[in-house]
């Protein structure tokens, strides 16, 4: 074989198992009655039902976006199940009451929830299909005044907080998928950090899709009051099915004066097989509002899974001197498609944003960076630095960059750097000629390429991310 860079073979996806469990599942399809049913099953306050119905009515008038650089067969929204929950007691007082099959599932995923085994400095909210099944360390956090619970619980226990902030960053009619999410979301995490509190541990939500026909629509809301601090992590996996599952989440972050939110994602949804069959459609709206002066929101994402990724974690920099950051590694292999990037909207004075995007494309995959930097008329002295690097592995992968720049204030400064590199036969030969195996060569080059982003992740997860990328690319060359 003279052309050494061959088609890619994925390491088997090790999270592809299915948990057998009795579920409470509603019939397929979507209409106002389904929305009423979801809301009543969750016993929601009236304002929530109205919110959902308004969103649904908007959604009906909207059309699916076609501008992303991805292609997929039309989605039949009437063929999706919008609510599925493992059958168990409505309210759990302790983990002992959680179905052992669920605890075992999370243990298998490396997220032990039981008191003895849980991660020492990470509080976890575990979400299985449509609902949150357990949240660890709640009492410990409560002592500091930190609220960390499922959004369903928050709707009962802190309805004013939810009502005040839900939809304040991503309005119900923001875009097609956000509107759909607003109508049907079933669960997600809620975080509230009171004034002046530094959250004593990492907060994390782990999303698990189990069912093959259920869409997953979760909603995350994080509010950081004045001078508070929080680091939040999100992880996700799904079983391997031949069909595609829709995942349309919305994440809203609000940072008040001098507050800081760090949001990290290690996304490892099932990506489909090596021929592109199956996998998750990941259509996600994530946005942070730096409402207060000197506030800071930082997104770090490592995107390795999903058949299709459509995702632009963004920052709206309203407060003077506020800071937005976006650090991203997006890896696509086989027939995966990713259209991902960020939006940095500078509104306040002296606002600053940094964008570091690293795209790695292998196999026949398509990997696009799409980013908007907007300097509004009042953004005196605002600055942005963007760096978009692409790495191609083999000859059949694609990388694209679509930067959009709108400057309405002449004192604003923007800097943009971009590069494309390739791991080809000659680079690999340079390593092997020095006695270094191809696998080590690829992982050394990838680690080096992603260093600036991995450095932003909490330590345990940086190691995990590094390992994950190597696994994903194992056998992809040579």
């Amino acid at each position: 074989m003279s052309a050494a860079v061959k088609t890619l073979v994925n390491q088997p996806y090790k999270y592809g198992f299915v948990t057998t469990i009795e579920t409470d599942t509603i019939p397929r399809g979507l209409n106002e009655d389904v929305i009423r049913l979801i809301s009543s099953k969750k016993n929601e306050p009236e304002f929530m039902l109205e919110f959902r119905l308004r969103a649904y009515r908007h959604w009906l008038k909207m059309t699916e976006p076609t501008w992303p650089h991805v292609t997929y067969p039309a989605i039949d929204y009437q063929d999706i199940i919008y609510y599925s929950a493992p059958k168990q007691k409505a309210k759990k007082n302790s983990l002992d009451e959680v179905d052992p099959a669920l605890l075992e599932t999370f243990e298998k995923l490396g997220i032990p929830l039981s008191e003895q085994k849980r991660l020492t400095n990470v509080a976890v909210d575990a979400i299985f299909d449509s609902v949150s099944i357990a949240t660890t360390f709640r009492e410990k956090l409560a002592k500091e005044g930190v609220i960390f619970c499922s959004i369903s619980e928050a709707l009962h226990e802190y309805p004013e907080l939810v009502q005040k902030y839900l939809g304040s960053v991503v309005p119900i009619a923001d875009n097609y998928f956000a509107a759909l999410n607003s109508a049907v979301f079933s669960d997600g995490s809620f975080v509230y950090i009171p004034k002046g509190v530094k959250c004593p541990m990492e907060l994390s939500t782990y999303f698990r899709i189990n069912s093959g026909d259920t869409g997953q629509f979760e909603r995350t809301l994080i509010v950081a009051e004045e001078g508070s601090h929080v680091s939040y992590l999100e992880g996700c996996t799904a079983p391997m099915y031949d069909s595609n599952q829709l995942h349309a989440a919305v994440v809203e972050l609000v940072a008040l004066d001098n507050a800081e939110i760090k949001y990290s994602t290690v996304q490892n949804w099932y990506a489909g097989d090596e021929n592109g069959k199956g996998g998750i459609y990941n259509f996600v709206t994530k946005r942070g509002l730096c409402q207060g002066v000197n506030s800071k929101i930082s997104w770090t994402q490592v995107e390795t899974g999903s058949a299709i990724t459509w995702k632009y974690p963004s920052c709206v920099l309203v407060g003077d001197n506020s800071v937005g950051e976006f650090y991203s590694v997006a890896l696509t292999n086989n027939y995966q498609q990713a259209d991902t990037g960020t939006k940095m909207v500078h509104i306040g004075k002296n606002t600053r944003s940094t964008i570091i995007s690293k795209g790695i494309s292998a196999g026949h995959s398509k990997n696009s960076y799409r980013g908007l930097v907007k300097m509004s008329p009042k953004a005196e002295g605002a600055r942005n630095y963007s760096q978009c690097d692409s790495m191609l592995i083999g000859d059949n992968a694609q990388a694209n960059t679509f930067p959009y720049i709108q400057v309405q204030n002449h004192t604003a400064k923007l800097e943009h750097e971009a590069s494309t590199s390739k791991i080809g036969e000659d680079q690999l030969f340079y390593f092997t000629q020095r006695g270094i195996s191809q696998e080590d060569a690829v992982s050394m080059m990838i680690s080096g390429f992603c260093k600036d982003v991995f450095n932003q992740l909490p330590m345990e997860f940086a190691v995990e991310a590094d390992r994950l990328l190597s696994l994903k690319l194992e056998g992809s060359v040579g």
């Binding site: 003279s2 092997t432 006695g435």
Partner: protein, 262 residues
């Protein structure tokens, strides 16, 4: 140098190879014994780099005939990394840039893969640091180069010196230097030659590809071969290099065509 009776390090017989279906090597034969330095000269495009890459196992080249024995082993059956770990080293004519990988990490991983192959313990970062300082002196390179990405932004001459640094660390059994002297200033040339001479010993062998007789003033070859059109057309002592410098290749090429025509 006395080489009677020494071990044969490399024996190449009737080697033919092609790239993308185009035959490039058309019957290379060569034997190098332990303790010997051989030089290959020859016009541009004659196949010198191809020969060196085929020996190192570059996957783009397909061997279509002949044999290569390296220290008694069939080299052609070995993967490129096995060849390297067994002591085949190629200093590239055009060393590649490897962004994001520090020179130090690259050297350490390479060195340890060779150690492991030899059944020796891998060196940790501290011990390796000592070793590398010593080798930096050989090529008079500043340690600042270690923290930079492999060859990235290096000048042409710095890249070549970096190749010699790698060679000094790996201590190969067979070192192939593909035009390591090209693009070097006179001081750098001396440094590189000095590096090569320090490495040369009665147990190993060197194959030096060059266009310039001047390198051979510093590295004294035991044999000089002239390659044309994918094979060796003549071989001689170091005086052959002087003659080539004075007369060029035409007289040899004409003689060769005449021979073929007969």
């Amino acid at each position: 140098m006395m080489t009677e009776g020494s071990e044969v390090i490399l024996s190449v017989r009737d080697l033919t190879a092609e790239v993308d279906g185009t035959p490039i090597l058309k019957g290379m034969s060569l034997e190098i014994k332990a303790g010997e330095i051989h030089a290959i000269m020859g016009p541009n495009g004659s196949g010198k780099s191809t020969f060196s890459k085929v020996l190192a196992g570059h996957p783009a080249y397909e061997v279509t005939g002949g044999e290569v024995i390296f220290q008694g082993q069939n080299l052609l059956e070995m993967e490129p990394e096995e060849r390297a770990r067994s002591g085949v080293f190629l200093a590239f004519q055009y060393p590649l840039e490897i962004p994001g990988v520090s020179n130090l990490d690259f050297l350490r991983v390479a060195y340890n893969s060779r150690r492991k192959h030899q059944g020796l313990e891998e060196l940790d970062a501290f011990d390796f640091d000592e070793l590398i300082q010593e080798k930096l002196d050989v090529v008079k390179m500043d340690s600042a180069f270690l923290s930079r990405s492999v060859n990235e932004g290096f000048s042409g001459g710095e890249k070549k010196r970096n190749e010699i640094l790698q060679m000094a660390i790996l201590e190969p059994k067979l070192a192939i230097l593909d035009e390591t002297d090209s693009g070097l200033d006179i001081d750098a040339l001396k440094i590189v030659a000095n590096g090569v001479n320090q490495l040369a010993n009665p147990e190993n062998a060197m194959l030096v590809i060059t266009h310039y007789q001047r390198l051979l003033n510093y590295i004294i070859p035991d044999r000089v071969h002239v390659m044309a059109n994918g094979r060796i057309i003549t071989s001689g002592t170091k005086e052959l290099a002087l003659e080539l410098e004075a007369r060029g290749y035409d007289w040899l090429l004409e003689a060769e065509t005449a021979e073929v025509a007969v």
